[in-house]
């Protein structure tokens, strides 16, 4: 372990503060799933990923991460900054004119750590599979990680990609699904039910593991376990349960904070619940 679980939890707390402050500052953005995935991103970037903050697009010899549900950019930007890809002060530019921290992630402005634009949903897994195939062609044993939202699985392209990877034995990819059961218009089971996701992934040929994405010890363990499953002929899918808005009592477990910014008073209430552990930007 590079960090103790307690240290990782402290980083995640700071990341959650960053997310809320970024979204509050411009009164726009997506705090709900950013909070829900703060533990996953922290575990990935501070513990699991073999990566170099001196960013190159190719990332030869490095693990690569792709975010498909680009609207949770605040949590990615915060973790990229906190792990050293760019200065944390740049988080203050989120969604502002001429920023590298666009509303949805992009390579267009040259932000280190981003390898493809995302935001229009359902495209990340395909891109990640392409990057995984390139790793294999290059004889690079590194691993490709990706995260998708669960609501995003309503996009058909995901199922093309889900069908492709097992058939082509893309076994150097670990795809995680943020299984929070919420989307903009309400719970996924009311908008368009995902039904038995685990069974669907398994029948498509993925090695599926389940995890609690809001338990730091468990998510670290799950990602390390997933890593041990690579190279065995099957792609790996981490079906990761999270709660949208996790860490703030009045935001947790509802789609209402999917894309709404907190007011001044709400921000204060929320920040009082999240320890400042590494200094606000």
């Amino acid at each position: 372990m590079k960090h103790t679980i307690s240290e990782l939890e402290d980083i995640a707390s700071q990341v959650r503060r960053d997310c809320l402050r970024m979204v509050h500052a411009v009164q726009s953005g997506h705090p709900g799933a950013s909070l829900g995935c703060a533990d996953f991103f922290t575990a990935l970037y501070f513990e699991v990923l073999n990566h170099n903050t001196a960013f190159t697009m190719e990332g030869a010899g490095e693990d690569l991460f792709f975010l498909s549900n680009g609207h949770i950019s605040p949590v990615w930007y915060s973790v990229l900054a906190r792990s050293g890809y760019f200065d944390v002060s740049e988080l203050a530019t989120f969604r502002k004119l001429d920023t590298r921290l666009q509303g949805h992630p992009t390579t267009h402005e040259g932000l280190p750590g981003i390898r493809v634009a995302s935001g229009s949903l359902g495209q990340g897994l395909s891109v990640a599979i392409g990057a995984a195939l390139a790793k294999k062609l290059n004889g690079d044993k590194s691993i490709i990680y990706t995260l998708m939202g669960d609501g995003e699985l309503q996009e058909g392209q995901n199922w093309e990609a889900l069908m492709f990877a097992p058939f082509h034995k893309v076994d150097n990819i670990i795809a995680s699904v943020d299984y929070n059961g919420q989307q903009i218009d309400g719970p996924t089971e009311k908008v368009l039910s995902l039904e038995n996701l685990q069974a669907k992934f398994e029948v498509f040929g993925w090695h599926v593991i389940t995890s609690d994405g809001n338990d730091m010890a468990e998510i670290v363990k799950a990602l390390h376990y997933a890593k041990s499953l690579t190279g065995k002929g099957k792609p790996i899918l981490n079906l990761m349960s999270t709660q949208m808005g996790y860490g703030v009592d009045f935001m947790v477990g509802t789609h209402k904070w999917h894309g709404s910014a907190p007011s001044d008073a709400q921000l204060e209430l929320a920040l009082n619940q999240l320890k400042e552990t590494a200094g606000d930007y």
């Binding site: 190719e58 390579t107 267009h108 229009s120 495209q123 395909s126 891109v127 990057a131 392209q157």
Partner: protein, 318 residues
């Protein structure tokens, strides 16, 4: 009128297939992807010699575009192959976000463009693809005119860094450009120098423009014929130089008149040098089933239509 002859007829898609095979030999980073149309795209030679660098995606074009984008991240040069309809309209958002906006070095190679796909009918005959692709910032759009030019273009885009749309077709047509030609992206090819009217043609319409030029010569009209194989970036210098000499222009394309080469030329002329223009193009219509030749006649893309357009536009000279 300069004399053009040919000894054989070939399809431009075979030019792509030959170019792709050669590209595979020249650069080990070249990879090819196909969505269940290997035979139609003439990818067999590449697959035979470089099976490890070929990805059969199945009938899943959106996934193919995403995988291609991802492959570039590892330094690969992916060439995707399917019909023009499924290379553009079906996957517009994937191209827009994962390839164009992300600045990925993907070569989108599209066969069976336009009416000359023939009997399969309008579902497969896309006439809007040039417009869709040229509107994407940073996208290069190329529509070569015969087998040799298509092969040369395929090799040229391998060496170009950035997203490219390469459009070609199904019918066998005369091979009239040199086998050893140097293909320069964005540089027009002067087919015939003339003084009375500028005829600008792309793709399958170039040979038809040559046939029209011969008929115009018989009528005493000296046509300048320019092949614009690269619709974006447009060779503005070559077009302006010609139109300043002739004072009028006819554009010819196997595409809807909206959004195609003609509109790119019109934009140039209205901003730089006013001159009348006629459009030999499909008149805002879908295609239909028939033989390619029957369709080219019905939709007014024949050499006689180019001749009529030239005569008409010359009367409108300012």
């Amino acid at each position: 009128m300069k004399k053009y002859t040919y000894t054989e007829k070939k399809d431009t898609r075979s030019g792509f297939g030959a170019g792709l095979h050669e590209a595979g030999k020249r650069n080990e980073n070249v990879v090819a992807l196909c969505a269940d149309l290997v035979g139609s795209l003439k990818m067999d030679a590449f697959i035979k010699d470089f099976p490890e660098r070929f990805v059969q995606v199945g009938i899943a074009e959106a996934n193919m575009m995403g995988i291609a984008a991802g492959l570039t991240i590892g330094g690969k040069i992916p060439f995707t192959g399917t019909f023009a309809n499924f290379s553009t309209g079906r996957v517009y958002d994937q191209i827009r976000q994962s390839i164009a906006y992300s600045g990925k070095n993907v070569k989108i190679c599209a066969s069976h463009a336009g009416l000359t796909l023939g009997e399969d009918g309008a579902t497969h005959q896309i006439l809007e693809d040039i417009g869709l692709m040229k509107m994407l910032p940073g996208m290069v759009v190329i529509n070569p005119c015969d087998y040799n030019q298509t092969k040369a273009a395929t090799l040229a885009i391998m060496d170009y860094e950035g997203p490219v749309y390469l459009r070609f077709g199904r019918p066998v047509i005369p091979v009239f450009t040199p086998e050893d030609q140097k293909f320069e992206i964005g540089k027009a090819w002067m087919v015939n120098e003339g003084t009375d009217v500028t005829i600008i043609a792309t793709g399958h319409m170039v040979w038809r423009a040559i046939e029209a030029g011969e008929k115009l010569a018989e009528l005493g009209i000296d046509a300048e014929i320019i092949n614009i194989h690269t619709i974006k970036p447009l060779d503005e210098e070559a077009i302006l130089k010609s139109v300043k000499k002739t004072g009028c222009v006819v554009t010819c394309e196997e595409h809807n008149k909206f959004g195609g080469l003609g509109e790119s030329v019109a934009r140039l002329l209205t901003t730089e040098y006013l001159a009348p223009q006629e459009f030999v193009a499909v008149n805002d219509s879908f295609g239909e089933s028939a033989t390619p030749d029957q369709l080219m006649t019905k939709y007014k893309l024949d050499p006689s239509d180019i001749v009529a357009a030239a005569q008409k536009v010359m009367k409108r000279k300012i």
